[in-house]
């Protein structure tokens, strides 16, 4: 069917488990986005997808293609590096925008500006 059929069974099982774990964490993160009640709580949930979710996916990809090609394939690690460096910037921008807006609206539950 495709070149993944060439994987030995142990590698196929390992890759399957890793992909499921990664997808599981990403799913729980998205579910949190839906279930948590206010904006500041919600921004916490997607970090599950960008940390352990990404980690398991990257390891699955490294195992899969390293075994299939018979040599170490490691460039996926860069995805992890860049996600770790860039996610905080996005999240901080979102949270600060929300905080600024809530302060302007005069909401009591956010800390006042200095």
């Amino acid at each position: 069917m495709n070149h993944l059929d060439a994987l030995p069974p142990w590698a196929a099982v390992l890759v399957g488990v890793l992909v499921l774990l990664g997808a599981g964490f990403a799913f729980v993160g998205s579910l949190g986005l839906l279930r948590l009640r206010d904006f500041y709580k919600r921004v916490h949930a997607p970090t599950l997808g960008t940390t352990l979710g990404t980690f398991f996916m990257v390891v699955a990809s490294i195992v899969c293609f390293s075994v299939a090609q018979g040599r170490p394939v490691l460039h996926e690690m860069l995805i992890g590096v860049f996600l770790t460096l860039t996610t905080p910037i996005t999240l901080m921008l979102l949270v600060r925008a929300a905080l600024y807006r809530n302060r302007v609206e005069g909401q009591q539950r956010v800390p006042p500006p200095r």
């Binding site: 949190g32 948590l36 709580k41 916490h44 599950l48 490691l74 600060r96």
Partner: protein, 162 residues
């Protein structure tokens, strides 16, 4: 001489590593091209006039990285449980932490650590009063969070960067 050709060895080293990983090859031509790109971009990076970065304690940096990875795994499970458990909303809130850390790279590292760890987000930092504002998803004990951040992350970062 080395400083002239390679003004930002850490940046150039990282760029070379990224280049080699992306090219997936260690052939001499790839290596040469990578070195040239890394040196050129290192010089370009210098034009941005970044503040000088010094890593004083490499073993401690490695230990801190391992600790952060452990913490990320634990807080992933904690936040997953908070999302999945039936009913009941969590109590979350803002926490102010006064910091001794002033090095920009140390602060950037702290921002990445706090925000990458599920359950805490870096919100604001006042560099004149040195007060950091974070938001904590599961806020039970405010003092415990402050102590945690200062002891587990700020102290090693102070030793590494400052």
């Amino acid at each position: 001489m080395i400083r002239r050709c390679l003004p930002h060895p850490l940046m150039s080293g990282f760029l070379l590593l990224a280049w080699l990983l992306l090219q997936r090859s260690l052939a001499p031509a790839t290596l040469l091209a990578g070195v040239l790109v890394a040196m050129g971009l290192g010089r370009a990076f210098g034009k941005l006039r970044p503040p000088a970065a010094r890593i004083r304690n490499v073993p401690l940096l490695v230990r801190l990285l391992l600790r952060v990875m452990g913490d990320i795994v634990r807080s992933n499970l904690a936040v997953a449980w908070l999302v999945l458990r039936p009913g009941g909303q969590v109590r979350s809130g803002f926490v102010s932490v006064s910091l001794e850390l002033t090095d920009p790279y140390g602060l950037a590292a702290l921002a990445c650590i706090i925000t990458s760890t599920p359950g805490t987000i870096w919100v604001d930092h006042d560099s004149t009063r040195r007060v950091l504002l974070i938001h904590v998803l599961d806020l039970v004990d405010e003092a415990a969070w402050i102590g945690n951040i200062k002891r587990r992350y700020e102290r090693p970062l102070l030793e590494i960067f400052q």
